[in-house]
């Protein structure tokens, strides 16, 4: 119960403090155009509060923020004293300055107030941060920054004196406090007071040089500050959590394992030279692959259909529509063969990117198209979409247990795939089973051939397409009659025995089975977006094509697909970016063993388990480079929009 309470309390505090800060800031700047005196006083007060909190009261934030239980509440007034005094002084200065209109008076008051505050702060630092100044930085930094201030303001056509003062102020701060020797015996109160006093006077002088803004100036304050109030928090968050860490990671990747030495490219060399990451040694074996004949078959078939289609449209070759299917199959099979002989972490990552992106997008498109207008469309679609709500960890567990489980063949299988596979092996090798399974596939092939013959009169290319597709069931039927299909093996003594597939642990295709889990999740995403895009294709186009006698297939390939192409690209790049950093599936199912390592998991292991920060950072940067083209594409699109 206490856990519930502390949880709720911390959430309320986090949200409440944040909202209060933001609304309060808005309230203050609302006053700029309404009542400038009040605005000035409020702004001064807040500045004073923040300054004094940083210098004296930050112990409060440190102690309450993290451990409210150990905080000594009786000491609260000690922590709060100086911040409140600071707020009061700041408010007073702000209020008085806004009532002064004479330039000399303002300058004088500014210098006096600044000097006072500077001395006060220096005095407060007594005992904690006294310093002994060094001459070189004390002269050098105000000169450098002052010069920069003058130069900048000359460029911006503003008053160079103001620039000089700002530069001198920061230069003095940097040179005195930053450049000082700390914690040595020479440190003394006098020098600290000098450092604080001069800095305060410089800052005060700069403040005194301003004049009370007129109505236009106030509107400008409102506009400019408002932009930062609205955009600032987001900018701070993503700078601190995303941009700066990315830069730091890049620097870390150039250093050694505990970031003590620069090693420049060594980590990257290690990434690319490690055979675990990039192994081409068994590439030659690809020519023995049983997939290659199929690649050749579909390549030739695709070219043939393109040729036939070309004759129909009076072109040498026409690759639009029908030929894409066999060519696509050929390309998919070829990349499949390629990825199963090129091994290693980087190759696996590429395989994931290609496989998941292509399959999720095309499956999503197929389901979106097939479900379009079907009875119960929304129910069917929400079944497919549902995995989007399930965590990647949960999905990995679900698939490992429910679908991929492989148990000893003496027991009954509890995973769906192995149960079906073993049953099929059993059934297709038994006598009536063999005939039944074989005939089913023969009938399937026969049906496709029948459609092919029927459409021959219409279009030779379509007929060829169906014939080519009929080759698959025909081949399966042949296999069934000659040996049998499914999960079985023949022992030495000639008897049959069940054999399971170890989906998770047998390389290289276990990579593909792990990808299935992500495809299961991402297909729903692709489907939802592509479904909306398909429904948005203008009805007129489809009607016109129908009147012209186009078939469903022609309408889909030549009207719908080109129309939704931009959406397909967006979906594919979104999925690609997600797949690139795939982590959870691999971590939970195999933890990178059995040849399934991917970059994100390798990075996690190196950086956080092997504590090799340099190598981990280098792996992260490799990932980053992987998505760089997408980033550039995004920015390009934005620039084109204007």
């Amino acid at each position: 119960m206490t856990k519930v309470l502390t949880t709720i309390l911390s959430v309320v505090i986090a949200v409440g403090v944040f909202t209060a800060l933001w609304v309060g800031l808005n309230m203050i700047f609302n006053q700029a155009t309404r009542d400038f005196t009040r605005f000035s006083a409020l702004a001064g007060g807040v500045l004073g509060l923040v300054l004094m909190t940083v210098i004296d009261g930050n112990r409060l934030i440190t102690s309450i923020g993290v451990r409210p239980d150990t905080f000594e509440w009786s000491a609260l007034h000690i922590y709060l004293f100086w911040p409140i005094v600071g707020a009061a002084i700041g408010a007073a200065i702000g209020w008085f300055l806004s009532t002064l209109d004479d330039a000399n008076m303002r300058l004088g008051f500014g210098i006096a107030a600044g000097l006072g505050i500077g001395l006060l702060i220096a005095f407060l630092l007594k005992g904690r941060y006294q310093l002994a100044m060094r001459t070189t930085p004390l002269i050098m930094w105000p000169l450098i920054l002052g010069a920069i201030g003058v130069g900048l303001n000359l460029l911006r056509r503003r008053d160079p004196i103001k620039g000089a003062l700002t530069g001198l102020f920061f230069g003095w701060l940097y040179g005195s406090f930053g450049g000082a020797i700390q914690g040595v015996e020479q440190a003394n109160l006098a020098e600290t007071l000098l450092a604080g006093g001069v800095a305060g006077a410089l800052g005060g002088a700069r403040l005194g040089l301003t004049s009370n803004p007129d109505i236009v100036g106030r509107a400008e304050i409102d506009q400019r500050s408002r932009a930062w109030i609205f955009v600032g928090p987001a900018f701070l968050f993503y700078s601190a959590m995303l941009i700066l860490p990315t830069i730091q990671t890049f620097l870390l990747s150039l250093k050694n394992r505990d970031s003590t030495e620069w090693v420049l490219g060594d980590n990257y060399a290690e990434v690319f030279n490690d055979p675990d990451n990039f192994d081409t040694s068994s590439f030659g074996d690809i020519f023995g692959s049983s997939i290659l004949p199929w690649v050749a078959f579909y390549l030739v078939a695709g070219l043939l259909i393109a040729f036939l289609l070309g004759r129909e449209t009076a072109q040498p070759f026409n690759f639009g529509g029908a030929p894409l299917l066999p060519l696509g199959i050929a390309a998919a099979l070829f990349s499949f063969a390629l990825f199963s002989y090129l091994r290693g972490t980087i190759i696996n990552n590429l395989w994931w990117v290609v496989g998941v992106t292509l399959l999720s997008t095309s499956l999503g498109l197929a389901i979106a198209k097939l479900a379009d207008g079907v009875k119960g469309e929304s129910v069917a679609k929400s079944f497919v979409f549902m995995p989007m709500a399930i965590s990647m960890v949960g999905a990995s567990i679900i698939w490992r247990l429910m679908m991929y489980q492989a148990r000893d063949t003496s027991k009954s299988q509890t995973g769906v795939f192995n149960a079906v596979w073993v049953w099929l092996g059993d059934f297709s090798t038994s006598q009536p089973g063999k005939a039944i399974v074989g005939l089913i596939f023969l009938a399937f092939a026969g049906g496709l051939t029948y459609v092919a013959v029927r459409s021959l009169a219409k279009s030779a290319s379509i007929a060829a397409l169906y014939l080519v597709l009929a080759a698959i069931p025909l081949w399966v039927a042949y296999r069934t009659f000659s040996e049998g299909i499914g999960g079985y093996t023949i022992r030495d003594d000639g008897t049959f025995a069940a054999q399971t597939v170890n989906f998770v642990q047998s390389p290289p295709f276990n990579n593909f089975y792990l990808m299935m889990i992500m495809i299961w999740i991402q297909t729903g995403f692709a489907m939802v977006i592509l479904s909306a895009a398909i429904k948005a294709v203008p009805e007129d186009f489809l009607e016109a094509a129908k009147i012209d006698g186009a078939t469903e297939g022609q309408i889909f390939w030549r009207i719908t697909v080109p129309q939704v192409m931009p959406t397909i690209l967006v979906v594919a790049t979104t999925i690609m970016v997600n797949v690139m950093k795939v982590f959870d599936f691999v971590k939970v199912t195999t933890n990178g063993q059995f040849g399934t390592q991917v970059l994100a998991n390798a990075m996690f292991q190196e950086a956080f388990l092997n504590t090799n920060r340099g190598l981990g950072a280098a792996l992260a940067i490799v990932l980053f480079v992987g998505v760089l083209p997408v980033m550039i594409w995004n920015v390009n699109n934005l620039l084109k929009e204007g």
């Binding site: 609302n30 923020g65 968050f237 730091q248 959870d584 980053f624």
Partner: protein, 321 residues
């Protein structure tokens, strides 16, 4: 465009076969229902199996697949075990930990991103275009790139050595945030920013210009316009992003594993708890379905209750972009 033109002659050639297309179309329509429903059922099958097995005893789960369930196997034992205080990481505690991460990690990014989206859309300021391009360009950065420095910051604070001076300035003190929900939701908030701003900006910049102009003429300031006009009008897209972000943070594994993983066993969210169960060398495999189902229950409820908003949000985020 050229390809459409070149196709016209084929169309006229085929006109005589329009009647044949009718049969094909009917056949197509009849057959198309089969794969759609087959796929839909296949997609549901794993989750359904998980739910079934979560109610089966350990022996029943080990002896046969979930499709062989018999009524007498039904038991709540697995759920009792995963919730009991004796288990290593009771899932009840993890649920609270997940909430402590997901709730602030949903509310705060929405607020921050809504401010920024309004700023980018309706406040004119110098460098607006370039800042917006920067925001969108970091949309694709993989979060892995930021993890190492972020963890270092949460453990030891952030320190910067002053250039040319022999001194180190502490920008963020070592607050010891690693192992707390705060570290995780802070990280989530930062990572969510680009997408959230992009999504909300698409919507907010599309609101009619007239209402802003008339409000300005009536003397309303940006804060009032934002609070009174933009927020109420943006409820649909805010809800869409809220669902999206809640699912994402509730289901996140990597960030929680990095920030909390080994540092604090009492703050583990549900994803890590069930992943730990899964990594237990199969000893607790019979508890996994129940654990995974509890983990998935909250997002599934959110998802089914608010699916409409969610879909709308996804569409707004990708189609327009």
């Amino acid at each position: 465009m050229t390809s459409t033109v070149s196709k016209t002659p084929t169309g006229t050639q085929n006109q005589g076969l329009a009647g044949d297309g009718g049969l094909g179309a009917r056949l197509y329509r009849g057959l198309s229902r089969v794969p759609v429903w087959a796929l839909a059922v296949l997609w549901l099958l794993p989750t359904f199996g998980l739910m079934v097995n979560s109610f089966r005893t350990r022996d029943a789960q080990r002896n046969s697949g979930f499709w062989r369930i018999t009524p007498d196997e039904f038991s709540m034992e697995n759920y009792r075990t995963v919730f009991s205080a004796e288990s290593v990481n009771p899932i009840g505690d993890s649920l609270l930990n997940s909430l402590a991460i997901a709730v602030p990690a949903t509310i705060i990014p929405i607020a921050v991103a809504a401010f920024a989206a309004y700023g980018f859309a309706w406040i004119d300021f110098k460098g607006r275009k370039w800042l917006f391009i920067l925001t969108v360009s970091i949309l694709a950065i993989p979060l892995q790139v930021a993890l190492i420095p972020l963890l270092r910051m949460f453990v030891g604070g952030a320190h910067q050595t002053l250039p040319f001076l022999d001194k180190t300035l502490t920008l963020v003190p070592a607050w010891g945030l690693n192992g707390t929900a705060t570290a995780v939701w802070l990280t989530h908030t930062g990572f969510a920013m680009p997408f959230a701003i992009f999504l909300l900006h698409n919507y907010i910049s599309g609101l009619p210009k007239d209402i802003f102009e008339s409000a300005r003429i009536d003397g309303a300031d940006h804060f009032t316009i934002f609070w009174r006009l933009v927020l109420p009008l943006s409820i649909p897209v805010l809800a869409a992003f809220a669902i999206f972000q809640f699912l994402w943070t509730w289901n996140d594994f990597l960030i929680a594993l990095t920030m909390i993983g080994s540092a604090n066993a009492d703050a583990l969210p549900t994803t890590i708890t069930i992943a730990n169960l899964a990594g237990d060398f199969g000893r607790n495999e019979h508890l996994l379905p129940a654990g995974a189902f509890v983990q998935a229950f909250v997002p599934l409820v959110v998802f089914f209750a608010l699916q409409r908003f969610f879909v709308r949000g996804l569409l707004a985020g990708s189609v327009k972009g």
